[in-house]
């Protein structure tokens, strides 16, 4: 069997659509080459190079032409508003993450140039993943990014980092299996791997007997795959262990960037099903979302370690946002990005605070790096640190006017607009449950006396100017959100209107 020869011109190829990814990959190769030429270069050079590459990448992304039908590279690339927006989020989050490598103490992983190269490859992977509606390219992007991420976690070089990495890898492999099987079924019923061709094909065959079985298989398997990636209940169990094993900034990064990418693909795939009036997909997603946010909240209540608490909290936040996928309205889609754009700064800030106080040895607890006791009486030791962490907690709890509140309000409003009042009340009550564990940390920081191990030396252990800069930025964005939410919503809505949802 031969593939039809295609008439290829440079116009059809539209190679500029590949520019952002090529910049990231090229940057990674440059870093590796520098290491070949001269060994033992200080990490700050790599950090700065990475930031520069990210800036160029961002410039290239912003410079792309985009539209609902802007295709490139044999029509497998799709540069629509969704793609541009999520690439911007990925790049900004990466730019916030990478300076956190510049701690005052030396940590193993950052002395290797491979760390930065892998990091850039991972970004390229995410960029591929979000700018395509071809299931194979999505898969390749997903795997490139995930494999790099597993390695990055393991490079933290501690016992539980290896455990985390292997656990994540195993779960990721399983998810990849589900994804391929789901895609295969879709290919089987539609004869295509492009979502924009799958949708009409399914629509035309909707009435056929047995079709629902195939759809159930396809959508079910894909949903399972993304439930793994988004750590939705009941596929969330890996997340707390992996977050705990990874370094704090990487855990914060994992709670945002891979999820944004997975949400983008979920939007493309599942909103297609919902647009096709396959109602049980919507029902299943709502059930998953409610279970995820509620159970993760309940689990977070009983955690003894702040990092594990934040891990469960970000699972719960993902459940909250998952509701928007089920709604599949323009407002809900805008809400997803508004939420993550605001959540990103706050959550990365909270994890950065953990990073500041990360000690080489576990001096507070035999099992945990960041038990609650570590923060007791923090306001007396480092008042600014406690206030900053307190702000992040209030923001995560959804206290106005801090950033995450606006995301919550917008998503709840979108839920009400779609007629799901009960669901909105569940979302509200979940925010109230969540307030308890965020308050718990505030209570430890502000209302308890410091324990003997809590001293300026241990809480400021890892601090450095770059860390403080990132923290300052995160605080600024968290507190000042009321002033920029309006243009942000406007921009996101405009991008959503330039998006192709496959119908």
């Amino acid at each position: 069997m031969f593939i039809d020869p295609k008439n290829i011109t440079m116009d059809v190829l539209n190679l500029t659509t590949l520019m952002p990814m090529l910049i990231a990959i090229g940057g990674g190769l440059v870093i590796l080459t520098i290491d070949l030429i001269k060994e033992n270069i200080h990490k700050s050079l790599y950090v700065m190079l990475t930031i520069l590459i990210l800036v160029i990448d961002l410039g290239a992304t912003l410079g792309l032409n985009f539209g609902p039908n802007e295709k490139g590279f044999f029509d497998v690339m799709l540069i629509d508003g969704l793609s541009i927006l999520s690439q911007i989020l990925v790049l900004v989050a990466s730019g916030l993450f990478i300076p956190l490598a510049l701690t005052s103490k030396r940590f193993h992983e950052y002395s290797y140039p491979e760390f930065f190269a892998l990091f850039l490859f991972m970004i390229a992977g995410f960029q591929f993943m979000v700018s395509s509606d071809n299931l194979i390219l999505i898969f390749i992007g997903l795997e490139t990014a995930s494999l790099s991420l597993y390695t990055l976690i393991a490079m933290h070089n501690r016992h539980n980092s290896f455990e985390a990495s292997v656990k994540y890898f195993t779960m990721g492999a399983l998810a990849a299996g589900f994804f391929t099987m789901g895609s295969a079924i879709l290919y089987g019923i539609s004869g295509s791997l492009e979502l924009y061709q799958i949708a009409p094909a399914i629509q035309s065959r909707m009435g056929e007997p047995g079709m629902m079985m195939f759809l159930l298989g396809g959508a079910g398997l894909l949903l399972t795959a993304f439930a793994f990636k988004l750590s939705l209940f009941p596929f969330h169990t890996w997340a707390p262990d992996v977050y705990e094993g990874a370094s704090a900034p990487l855990a914060g990064y994992m709670s945002v960037v891979p999820k944004v990418a997975a949400f983008v693909v979920s939007m493309r795939i599942f909103e297609m099903f919902i647009e096709l009036q396959i109602e049980w997909v919507q029902t299943i997603i709502i059930i998953l979302a409610v279970l995820t946010m509620t159970l993760a909240n309940l689990m977070a209540l009983v955690q003894e370690d702040v990092k594990r608490m934040l891990a469960y909290s970000s699972i719960s936040h993902a459940g909250f946002v998952m509701v928007a996928i089920a709604l599949a309205t323009e407002k809900a889609n805008t809400g997803i990005f508004l939420y993550y754009a605001l959540f990103m700064f706050t959550n990365l800030g909270a994890f950065a605070m953990l990073w500041v106080s990360r000690h080489k040895n576990r001096i507070h607890h035999a099992r945990y790096d960041h038990p609650y006791e570590k923060f007791s009486g923090m306001v007396k030791i480092m008042p600014m640190g406690a206030v900053v962490m307190g702000l992040f907690m209030l923001s995560l709890a959804g206290v106005p006017p801090f950033s995450v509140f606006w995301g919550k309000v917008y998503l709840m409003s979108a839920t009400i607009d779609a007629g799901h009042i009960g669901l909105a009340i569940i979302m509200g009550l979940n925010s109230a449950i969540a307030a308890y564990y965020y308050l718990k940390l505030i209570v430890y920081m502000f209302l308890r006396e410091p324990t003997a191990q809590v001293t300026e030396e241990t809480t400021y252990y890892n601090v450095s100017k770059p860390l403080l800069t990132i923290l300052g930025l995160a605080v600024f964005v968290t507190v000042g959100s009321i002033f920029y939410v309006d243009p942000l919503i406007e921009y996101i809505t405009e991008m959503m209107r330039a998006t192709n949802f496959g119908i």
Binding site: V399, Y410, S413, I416, D417, A424, G428, S431, L447
Partner: protein
């Protein structure tokens, strides 16, 4: 004075931020000066307020999130004007009463100033989201005040207070968002502007559910029976200043919410729910009064009596006539003054003896005559003795309620009797009879600091008890305007019948 409301809201917050820099020994002086300026600004607002105009004055409007209809929108009318002045006054006197040796004085002052911003903000907001913003934000400084300066179980009490209120307000938030959506359906415009919402006609079914959602937020704050369980905890553990502000101002947010949101936006549902609310309020009035009688702790008596009086305020709000509504707004003010003063007085004796248990005292009248006199005046005001501030509001509310239900009025009237019983019992146990402990002989009477904080309140109690007209008139105007607004806005005939207001009286 174009932006006086914004100045009123944000002046304490800016002062709070600058307060971080002030030296800790001057923190109290700084707090007193800022709060005094704030009070003067509030009085200035009263001076330039047009009392013949029942509508919103000094309004400011600027869009914040125009995509979503959220704007910074503030205004003041006769209902909110005096509550704001009362909040500023109580904050000032509360800070005056703070002891110089309070630990972490600077943090206390900064928290109080932020709290003042949120309180003023709640009462002046005309945009639902901005209202919600201040409403939620007020929890944070209160959490810190109770949690950091409170009694042995302070953390439990503070967290309980926070979570209880937070859960209720999130359901209210769902209601607010649903309301905005219904408005959007009707008009195609996104807005959270209350004055726009007042024009929206909703079906009975929509009003029913929205009322329940609002009720969840407001009733917990009031606190209505059976949602009141957080309050005795909070009062029991809070430091004096915390109890004073909680009882005087924060609880009024709940009743104010009913007046500002539930009644005018949902008139039909308000009337439908009236029997339910009345029943709860009557239970609240009588039951908590009895509980108050059973207490041994002086502060708990006052805490429960405060809940009992909030029940009278709720009855007045839902009497749906000018006497009841105007009276309950007046009662909000008088309750703020009186309960604030009573908590201050309990704080005074607690600082001296380290106990609040009434049986430990006895015979204090001989040792501390000035203290006993002021306590007596406040107690009489709390019971509602004529010629004190407590009488005016209580009488008007009962008068208004009489037009609705005579039996109910008799039941509600028992509050005056039971109130006198437990208050006089408190007074007798603590101030008369033999001294229980020798060491109480050496107690000092009120000093200058305490007199400065308490005497203005005594003056107000007597002045407004004798001559309430200057503040009753603007309140009455706005209350009537609100009822007329309600009547015009309602769609059911039964609602129009329930609302008793003569239109001619409204200027």
């Amino acid at each position: 004075m174009d932006h006086i409301l914004s100045i009123l809201i944000f002046f304490p917050a800016i002062a709070g931020i600058l307060g971080f820099v002030v030296d800790k020994d001057s923190a109290k002086a700084y707090g007193v000066s800022v709060a005094a300026v704030e009070l003067l600004l509030a009085l200035g607002l009263w001076a330039s307020f047009d009392i013949t105009n029942p509508g919103m004055q000094f309004t400011e409007f600027s869009p914040i999130i125009s995509q979503f209809g959220i704007s910074y929108n503030v205004g003041v009318d006769g209902i909110s004007l005096f509550i704001v002045i009362m909040a500023a006054l109580i904050t000032l006197l509360g800070i005056v009463l703070l002891r110089e040796d309070t630990k972490n004085m600077k943090n206390m002052i900064v928290s109080l100033l932020f709290l003042e911003m949120t309180m003023v903000g709640v009462f002046l907001s005309l945009d639902a989201i901005i209202f919600y913003l201040f409403w939620e934000l007020s929890l944070v400084p209160m959490l810190y005040i109770v949690g950091a300066w409170g009694g042995p179980d302070r953390v439990y009490a503070a967290v309980k207070f926070f979570l209880y209120t937070f859960a209720g307000s999130l359901i209210m938030l769902v209601g607010l968002l649903a309301m905005a959506y219904l408005f959007h359906l009707e008009s195609g415009v996104w807005t959270f502007n209350l004055l726009d919402w007042y024009t929206l006609k909703l079906t009975s079914n929509q009003q029913f559910w929205l009322f329940l959602a609002f009720f969840a937020g407001f009733a917990i704050k009031v606190p209505m029976f059976p949602f009141h369980t957080w309050l005795p905890w909070a009062h029991g553990q809070a430091p004096t200043i915390g109890s004073v502000i909680l009882a005087a101002v924060l609880l009024k947010m709940g009743t104010y919410g009913f007046v500002r949101f539930s009644l005018p936006i949902l008139p039909d549902a308000s009337v439908t729910f009236t029997p339910f609310i009345m029943a709860l309020s009557l239970i609240m009035v009588i039951y908590t009064a009895m509980v108050a009688f059973a207490q041994k702790d002086m502060k708990q008596v006052i805490a429960y009596s405060s809940v009992s009086h909030m029940g009278i305020i709720m009855i007045g709000v839902f009497a749906m006539n000018a006497e009841g509504l105007g009276g309950s707004i007046f009662l909000m003010l008088s309750h703020g003054i009186v309960s604030g003063a009573l908590f201050m007085l309990v704080g005074v004796i607690y600082e001296r003896t380290g106990t609040k248990i009434m049986e430990e005292f006895g015979g204090l009248a001989a040792v501390m005559p000035v203290y006993a006199t002021i306590f007596g005046v406040m107690l009489m005001a709390s019971v509602g003795l004529p010629l004190t501030i407590g009488f005016v509001g209580e009488f008007l509310v009962l008068l208004g309620f009489y037009k609705v239900s005579a039996v109910g009025t008799i039941l509600a009237g028992t509050t005056i009797i039971i109130g006198s019983v437990y208050m006089l019992a408190l007074f007798k146990k603590s101030f008369f009879g033999p001294l229980k402990h020798e060491k109480n002989l050496g107690l000092k009477d009120l000093d200058k600091r305490e007199l400065t904080a308490l005497l203005p309140l005594v003056a107000i109690v007597v002045w407004l008890g004798v001559y309430p007209k200057p503040i009753l008139e603007p309140i009455d105007n706005s209350a009537k305007a609100l009822l007329v607004q309600m009547e015009n806005h309602s769609q059911l005939e039964s609602t129009k019948e329930a609302i008793i207001v003569s239109k001619k009286e409204v200027k």
